[in-house]
Amino acid sequence: MNAVEIRNLTKNFGAKQALNGLNMTVPEGAIYGFIGENGSGKSTTEKIICGLLHQSGGEVRLFGKEQTDVDVRAKMGVLIEAPGCFAGLTVWNNLMLQAENLSLPKPQEKVRDVLKLVRMEGAAGNKYKNCSLGMKQRIGIAMALLGEPALLVLDEPINGLDADGLRIMREVLTDVAKRGCTVIVSSHILGELEKVATHYGIVRGGKMIREMTAEELENSCRSFVALQAKDMARANALLRAKYVRVEEDEKGYLRVYDQVSVESVVEYLYRYGVVVSEVGTDKIGLEEYYIDLMQGEK
């Protein structure tokens, strides 16, 4: 069963059309990376899924049921913008309030459990207002996880996190998915998203332009030959003369994106007296794939 199925979703804010017939399918148990430019409709879609905004048209089904179904909605967790904590209360009390709200049996045990899951056991007594940004994001996730949600919607949860915060967040998302929870996570930090996502949805101008699994992304990502030569300027000129797409990356490597073997490139340059000092093959990542796709769309 699909956790989320959206068909022809539209949303207008006055004259502005935020969503323009968006389709989306999130399989159960997936970590769905929701990608798009600012204003492309990611947050609007997430808010509609959570019932916080009303769609102008289209259909949203959660676990095969209407999106307004009380029982389905009771099994959702959300972190959109603010985590939903009261500044003056401690982390523990904020979580206890949420546990009570969800009528959880053994709330203390559940709170302890989620705090452990988000690596925040030591900060339970801290006042929420005194927590760092990374801690607040993790508390937000803990809040969302309290009801053992079947669907977790996270809007930009890794923004502003330091390296350690990113690592913890990655671990948390993986742990959550292992528990059988479907996660929809939007982010601009594609490199991080790539490490955890099992599915992707790329949205542009209120429309889903591509949906794929991590394997499909892997297959779609172009491979390239990267090299460094003694005479880089000459190598660059020679490669550009022969191959269709040659680029220089930020580390100073020349990349040949055409379907060629390493040997043929090295041999070609050698023939013209250019000695290759370093060579290898690699694939573009999600970030480059996304940029390529966006440029193609434009």
Binding site: E28, L52, H54, V72, M76, E81, P83, G84, G88, A150
Partner: protein, 279 residues
């Protein structure tokens, strides 16, 4: 992985919601600040007006003399008896017909507490939206009814506590100011009924303020502005509905009226939440 989606009954949802809101209200500094203010304000009013009683001020431009008139007895701060003029003195004409008495004793009375209730309700509800708590809540709760019922009930409790604090403050303030406690034209039973009426009327005001709060959402300034504006229309009827010589009939009428308003306005709040964006 197939997940079992458990049934979440209305009773279960409402119970948990009420528990959370009650706990939030009673752990909120705002509640204690407002109750504290409600307790202190009547003491200050009674003491200060008694100190100024009889003082003459002269307008330097016109040379017109104005005599400051203080409270003649403690009960005047709660209102007047139905047949105006007798028991509580002429200065207390806040319930006397539609004519506006702008004297300090008619303006500074228990009825102004309804505006203070607006502050409590609007800030309390706005915090739900500002903190993202409402977002969490409405994601897991598709039905808005439990939120509205719970908020109406808890805001009523908060407002009622303020009215009772004002009553206590007035009784203490009367002692501090040395005002008489003579009951003229009414008795203790009537006074209890009067305070009960005023307490029950809180449900009307808190329901109005709740509607305005869900309209304004995190913009508490808007909620407050709308609440003060709309509250003003009903403000004048409070003194008529809850005179000092109130009886059980007044209490019943205020109770029924309060209940009906709470249900009707609650339905409007529910509709606003259903029809508008919650973020």
């Amino acid at each position: 992985m197939e997940r079992k989606l458990e049934k979440n009954t209305f009773g279960k949802r409402l119970k948990s919601m009420l528990r959370v809101d009650t706990r939030r209200m009673f752990t909120s500094p705002l509640f204690y600040i407002m109750v504290g203010i409600s307790l202190v304000v009547p003491i200050l009013i009674l003491v200060m007006t008694t100190m100024m009683d009889g003082k003459v001020s002269v307008d330097p431009q016109t040379g017109k003399e104005t005599v400051m008139e203080g409270f003649k007895n403690v009960w005047q701060i709660f209102g007047s008896v139905s047949d105006t003029g007798g028991a509580t003195g002429g200065a207390n004409a806040e319930g006397a017909g539609m004519g506006m008495d702008m004297s300090i004793t008619s303006m500074c009375n228990i009825n102004m507490m309804y505006f203070a209730v607006a502050v409590l309700v609007c800030l309390f509800v706005a915090e739900d939206f500002r903190s993202g708590y409402a977002k969490n809540l409405f994601t897991v709760r598709a039905k808005k009814t439990d939120y509205v019922i719970s908020k109406t009930a808890v805001c009523f409790i908060g407002g009622a506590a303020m009215i009772l604090a004002f009553t206590l403050g007035a009784l203490i303030g009367g002692k501090v100011a040395g005002l008489p406690y003579t009951m003229d034209g009414f008795n203790v039973y009537n006074f209890v009924c009067c305070v009960l009426c005023k307490t029950l009327l809180v449900s009307i005001f808190s329901s109005i303020f709740l509607v305005m709060s869900v309209v304004g959402k995190q913009r508490s300034w808007l909620s407050l502005l709308l609440s003060f504006g709309l509250g003003m229309f009903l403000f004048m009827t409070v003194s008529i509905a809850s005179p000092l010589d109130a009886g059980v009939l007044h209490v019943i009428l205020c109770g029924v009226g309060g209940g009906l308003f709470a249900v009707g306005l609650g339905a409007i709040s529910n509709l606003v939440l259903k029809r508008t964006a919650l973020v």
